[in-house]
C-alpha cells in the first residue's frame, strides 16, 4: 500500500479534502490490472489486457457525501480530486487525525496469474473446447472464456485509518449450444475464486463437460409447468435465492430508507427454526472474499439469521454510523470510480440435516431447480424472480423430465418462511451482483433447500 499511496501524500490529500469542513474524509486509491481471453468456433480470440489506476476522494458533512474521482495516482491527481470534492462545501477547515498504518494480510495467492504465459491460458481454453465438444455431435457451438483481475487498493481516512489490500481473482466460464433438428438448447458453467492460477490446477475441463451435458439434457426437455407447487432448489448457486430474497433486503441503506420488507424485523422469526444464514467475507479463496472491505474495515462473518430469527443487517461505515452500530465490513465499491455502499460478500444458508434424496422423495408433484441463470428483487416490495437454467419435474417423489423456460417468482417474506428443509450437501458458487450501477463479485452458497410452495412460471400450455 505504501507503493500505491504514500502516507504523507495521503495525509495532505485528506487535509485538503477537509479544507472547507466535513466530519469525515477518505481517499481510496486503486490499481487494476486484468487479462481476458476467449475461445469461440475453436479459435482463440478477444485477447485483451487492461491497466487502470486512479483514486476517489469523499468528504461527508451532515447527510451529504461529496465525491470526486480521477484517473492517475500522482500526488497532483489526488489533490485535484480532494479539491473537487471539497469545492461544494462552505464550512471551516477541519484537521484529520494523524494516519496510523495498519497492516492487512491479503488473501494468499500461490500462483500469480500474470506470471502464467498467455499461451498456457490459451491452451487451457483449447482443452475446454475439446472436452466440451467431445460430449457429442449434438454440441453445435461451444465458447469458453478466461478472466484474471488484480486490484491493489489503499484506503486512508480522517479518523486516522491507513491500510490496503491486494486482491487477485480468476474465473473461467463455458457455454455450450446443443442442436437436434429444430430444437436448440444451451448450458453454461463457471468456476471462480479469490485465488490465483492455482484455481485451475485441478481439472478446469470439467466445467466444459458440465456445460455441454446441461445443454444435451435440455434437448429432451418439456416446457416448464406453471403454477404454485413445492420447489427443491439445488446447492451452490441455488444460494442466489437467499441472496435475492433476503440478502439485498438486509443491506442497511435499503433498511434506513424504509425500502425493505425487513425493516423493524430484527429479532423476529422470519423462517423455520431450521434456518441459519451468514454473510462471510472471510471464507478462504471464495469469490466474494476480501481481507478488508473498500472502506478499510476487516471483513467478518456475520450471522444474519439464527434458528429462523433475523439477527443482523449488513452495514457500511455511513449506515453503521447512522444506526449507532459497528460496520459489518460490507462497504464495497466496484472501483475507485464508485462510492462504497452496503453490499453482500459471500452469503449462504448454513448446511442442514436433510439429504437431497430425502427432500425430493417427500414431494408428490413439484419442481426441481438445480441452477439459476440469475435473479432480481425489488427489496422495497419483496417481489423477486429467478430464471432457472437447469430444472426438472418431480413426480411421485422422483426427478423425472427436464424442463425448459422456467422462472420462479414470489415474495421474500412468504418464500423465506416456506423453506421447510435444508440439505447437508453445502457448497459455494460465484456470481456478479449489480446494485446502484455497480457490479461486484459475490459468493452464494447452500445445500439443497426445499420450499413448501412457490410459483413456477413456465411455458406449458
Amino acid at each position: 500500500m505504501s507503493e500505491l499511496l504514500d502516507r504523507d501524500v495521503a495525509a495532505r490529500v485528506l487535509a485538503r479534502a477537509l479544507a472547507n469542513g466535513g466530519r469525515f474524509a477518505e481517499v481510496f486509491a486503486e490499481r487494476r490490472r486484468g487479462q481476458v481471453l476467449a475461445i469461440d468456433e475453436g479459435r482463440i480470440e478477444s485477447v485483451q489486457t487492461g491497466a487502470e489506476e486512479g483514486a476517489g476522494v469523499r468528504v461527508v458533512e451532515g447527510g451529504t457525501t461529496y465525491f470526486a474521482h480521477v484517473d492517475g495516482l500522482d500526488a497532483a491527481d489526488l489533490e485535484r480530486a480532494a479539491d473537487e470534492a471539497a469545492a461544494a462545501l462552505k464550512g471551516d477547515r477541519r484537521e484529520p487525525q494523524p494516519l496510523q498504518a495498519r497492516e492487512t494480510a491479503p488473501l494468499p495467492i500461490s500462483h500469480r496469474p500474470e506470471e502464467v504465459p498467455a499461451a498456457q491460458k490459451a491452451a487451457m481454453l483449447r482443452e475446454l473446447d475439446e472436452r466440451g465438444r467431445a460430449k457429442g455431435g449434438e454440441i453445435a457451438q461451444f465458447t469458453a472464456s478466461y478472466a484474471e483481475a488484480r486490484r491493489e487498493v489503499a484506503v486512508a481516512n480522517s479518523d486516522g485509518l491507513f491500510t490496503g489490500d491486494d486482491r487477485t481473482r480468476v474465473r473461467i466460464g463455458a457455454q455450450a449450444v446443443a442442436r437436434r433438428d429444430s430444437s436448440v438448447e444451451t448450458g453454461s458453467e463457471t468456476l471462480g475464486g479469490h485465488r490465483g492460477y492455482e484455481l485451475l490446477e485441478d481439472d478446469p475441463g470439467q466445467i466444459a463437460e458440465k456445460a455441454a451435458e446441461k445443454a444435451l439434457t435440455l434437448l429432451d426437455a418439456v416446457p416448464a409447468p406453471s403454477g404454485s407447487m413445492p420447489v427443491v432448489v439445488g446447492g451452490g448457486f441455488g444460494g442466489v435465492l437467499f441472496h435475492e430474497m433476503t440478502g439485498h433486503g438486509l443491506e442497511a441503506d435499503h433498511i434506513q430508507k424504509g425500502a425493505s420488507v425487513y425493516v423493524d424485523k430484527l429479532g423476529d422469526r422470519v423462517a423455520e427454526p431450521l434456518l441459519n444464514a451468514y454473510d462471510d467475507g472471510r471464507l478462504p479463496g471464495e469469490w466474494g472474499s476480501d481481507a478488508i472491505d473498500d472502506e478499510g474495515r476487516p471483513t467478518q462473518k456475520t450471522l444474519v439469521i439464527e434458528d429462523g430469527r433475523l439477527t443482523s443487517y449488513l452495514y457500511d461505515h455511513l449506515t453503521a454510523e447512522r444506526a449507532g452500530v459497528d460496520s459489518t465490513g460490507n462497504g464495497r465499491r466496484e472501483s475507485f470510480r464508485h462510492l462504497p455502499i452496503p453490499r453482500m460478500t459471500n452469503t449462504y444458508i448454513a448446511p442442514g440435516d436433510a439429504t437431497p434424496e430425502e427432500m425430493i422423495a417427500e414431494v408428490e408433484r413439484g419442481f426441481y431447480a438445480v441452477s439459476f441463470g440469475g435473479g432480481q428483487v425489488d427489496p422495497a416490495t419483496g417481489d423477486f424472480v429467478f430464471g432457472v437454467n437447469e430444472g426438472y419435474l418431480i413426480e411421485g417423489g422422483k426427478v423425472t423430465r427436464p424442463c425448459r423456460g422456467a422462472t420462479l417468482i414470489g415474495n421474500c417474506l412468504d418464500a423465506l418462511a416456506a423453506i421447510d428443509a435444508v440439505g447437508n450437501d453445502f457448497f459455494m458458487k460465484t456470481g456478479m451482483c449489480g446494485k446502484g450501477g455497480q457490479k461486484i463479485p459475490v459468493g452464494t452458497g447452500q445445500g439443497h433447500v426445499r420450499l413448501r410452495a412457490l410459483t413456477v412460471g413456465g411455458t406449458e400450455r
Binding site: S46, V70, Q141, D378, G405, G457
Partner: protein, 450 residues
C-alpha cells in the same frame, strides 16, 4: 488536430512500431456529475473525469487488444506493446482485417451547452424537484428511495493505420426516481425517468409524477389467474423485448448460430403491425454518433418491414465474413472494450391506435407495466423467455385492478408474429439499449399467476 486525436495517432504509431501490421486507437475523455437526493437533502454529489485509450492491434490475421488510463507518451507506448503482444496469442482468422476509411458526415447537435452551464446546486434542485413532485402528488406516497440526476460530456477520437480518422463530442443526462407508496398493508414501488442531451430538456415534474403514479396504481395488487390472453406492453416493457430482438439481429450472434433469428433473412418473422429499424444518426437518439466504434459511418438500416426480416446488423468483421457492407454497427461500451456488433438507436414504427384503442382491442387481458429478471429469464440463443411482471388487468377493454407476482412467457420471434397492433405514441426508453417504441398489443401470451 485536437489533443485527443494526437493521442490516438501516437498510439497507432506506437503499436505499429511494436510490431503490429495494422493498428487502431480509440481515445475518450469524459466528465460527469451525479446528484442523489433523499428526504429533501442531497445524499451525494459526485464529480468525475476519466480518460483512456483502447488499442486494437493486428498481426496479420490475428487481433489483440489492450487499454489503459495512462495517456502519457510512455504510458501509451506500454499499452500499444501489450496490444501487439496480445495479438500474438490469438489464432488466425481469415476475416480479421482492419476497417478502411470512409467519408464521415458530421452530425451536429450531439452536445448540449446547458450541461456545462448548470452548476451543481441547480442540478441538485432539479433532483429535489423530482422527489418533491412525487411526494406531494398523493397522500399514499410515503417516500422516495432515491432520486438521481446524472450527466456526462464525452469527447471521442479514433485513428488507424489504414487512414481512419475522426472525432466527435456528445453529451447526455438523465434523471429518475424510485417512489414508494403504501396501502392495503403493502409497499409498492414506481419508477419515473427521463433522458435528454442536457438538463434544460428534462422535465423533473413529469419524472416525479410518473414514479408516483406507477407506485400508487399498484396499491392493492393481487396475483392474476394463470391463463393465455391478449397482453398490452407498456413502452418501457416493449423496449426491453425489442432490445433483445436487436441483440438477436447482430451478425456475430447470427453467424455463430446463437440467435433465434439466424437463417431467417427475407423470411416472415413478424406480423405486418411490427416494423423495426436501427438508426445511428437519429438527431434525438442517445446512441447517435457520426461514426461507430471502429470509425465506420453510422446509418439507418431497415431490419423488419412488412413482417419480413430485411437485414442483420454488421461491423467490419462480420460484414467481411459474408461479403456485405458494414452497417456501421460496431459498438463499444468504452475504451475498455473491443468493438462488437450491437444496435444503436432501435426504432419501432408507431401505428395508429391510441392507448385506449389498444386496450379496447385487447378486450379481456393484461397490461404489463413492468418486467423483472430479464437477464436470467430470457435465453438469447433460443429466444425462450419467462420473466416476472406486474401491471393491470384489462377488463371490458379498459384498465382494471393492479396485478403483480406473475410471469409472462413465450418465445421472442413468436411474440413478434403475435403483435396485432402498435400504438400511435412512441416513447424513447434507455432499457435494452436505446429504443423508441409505442405500446404494443400482443394477441396472446402465457400468464402464470395463481
Amino acid at each position: 488536430m485536437t489533443e485527443l486525436s494526437a493521442v490516438a495517432h501516437r498510439a497507432v504509431e506506437a503499436a505499429t512500431g511494436a510490431g503490429a501490421s495494422d493498428a487502431e486507437a480509440y481515445v475518450s475523455r469524459e466528465s460527469g456529475r451525479e446528484v442523489r437526493v433523499h428526504g429533501g437533502e442531497v445524499e451525494s454529489l459526485t464529480a468525475a473525469v476519466q480518460s483512456g485509450v483502447g488499442i486494437r492491434a493486428w498481426s496479420g490475421q490475428r487481433v489483440g487488444y489492450a487499454y489503459g488510463t495512462d495517456l502519457s507518451e510512455a504510458g501509451v507506448a506500454a499499452i500499444a506493446a501489450r496490444a501487439a503482444e496480445a495479438a500474438a496469442v490469438a489464432d488466425e482468422d481469415e476475416f480479421a482485417s482492419p476497417p478502411q476509411p470512409a467519408e464521415i458526415e458530421a452530425l451536429p447537435g450531439l452536445s448540449d451547452p446547458s450541461i456545462a452551464e448548470w452548476e451543481p446546486a441547480r442540478l441538485a434542485e432539479l433532483a429535489l424537484t423530482v422527489e418533491r413532485t412525487a411526494l406531494d402528488s398523493d397522500p399514499r406516497l410515503v417516500g422516495v428511495e432515491t432520486a438521481v440526476y446524472a450527466d456526462a460530456a464525452e469527447q471521442v477520437a479514433i485513428a488507424s493505420s489504414t487512414g481512419v480518422a475522426g472525432e466527435y463530442e456528445s453529451s447526455s443526462c438523465y434523471a429518475y426516481l424510485q417512489a414508494l407508496a403504501e396501502g392495503e398493508g403493502a409497499r409498492e414501488t414506481g419508477l419515473g425517468f427521463g433522458l435528454a442531451r442536457g438538463p434544460r430538456d428534462l422535465d423533473p415534474e413529469a419524472i416525479g409524477a410518473e414514479g408516483a403514479r406507477r407506485a400508487v396504481e399498484m396499491i392493492g395488487a393481487g396475483k392474476p389467474e394463470s391463463r393465455a390472453c391478449p397482453v398490452v406492453l407498456d413502452p418501457t416493457v416493449a423496449a426491453s423485448f425489442v432490445g433483445l430482438i436487436g441483440a438477436g439481429l447482430g451478425a456475430k450472434a447470427v453467424q455463430r448460430g446463437r440467435s433465434p433469428l439466424a437463417g431467417r433473412l427475407d423470411e416472415e418473422v413478424a406480423s405486418a403491425a411490427f416494423a423495426l429499424h436501427d438508426d445511428g444518426r437519429e438527431p434525438e437518439g442517445p446512441a447517435s454518433t457520426p461514426f461507430d466504434g471502429e470509425g465506420v459511418p453510422r446509418r439507418r438500416t431497415a431490419l423488419i418491414e412488412g413482417g419480413r426480416l430485411r437485414s442483420y446488423l454488421y461491423d467490419t468483421y462480420t460484414a467481411d465474413r459474408e461479403g456485405v457492407a458494414s452497417t456501421g454497427s460496431a459498438s463499444r461500451g468504452s475504451y475498455r472494450s473491443l468493438p462488437t456488433v450491437a444496435t444503436s438507436n432501435l426504432v419501432v414504427a408507431p401505428g395508429s391506435h391510441s392507448f385506449e384503442q389498444l386496450l379496447a382491442e385487447a378486450g379481456e387481458g393484461v397490461f404489463v407495466n413492468d418486467v423483472a429478471g430479464l437477464h436470467s429469464g430470457v435465453n438469447p440463443v433460443t429466444g425462450v423467455f419467462s420473466v416476472g411482471a406486474s401491471g393491470r388487468m384489462i377488463r371490458g377493454g379498459a384498465l382494471a385492478e393492479p396485478v403483480r407476482e406473475f410471469t409472462i412467457a413465450g418465445e421472442l420471434v413468436a411474440m413478434l408474429g403475435a403483435v396485432s397492433a402498435a400504438g400511435a405514441d412512441p416513447r424513447r426508453v434507455p432499457f435494452g439499449g436505446s429504443v423508441s417504441t409505442p405500446p404494443l398489443l400482443i394477441a396472446e401470451m402465457a400468464i402464470s399467476g395463481s
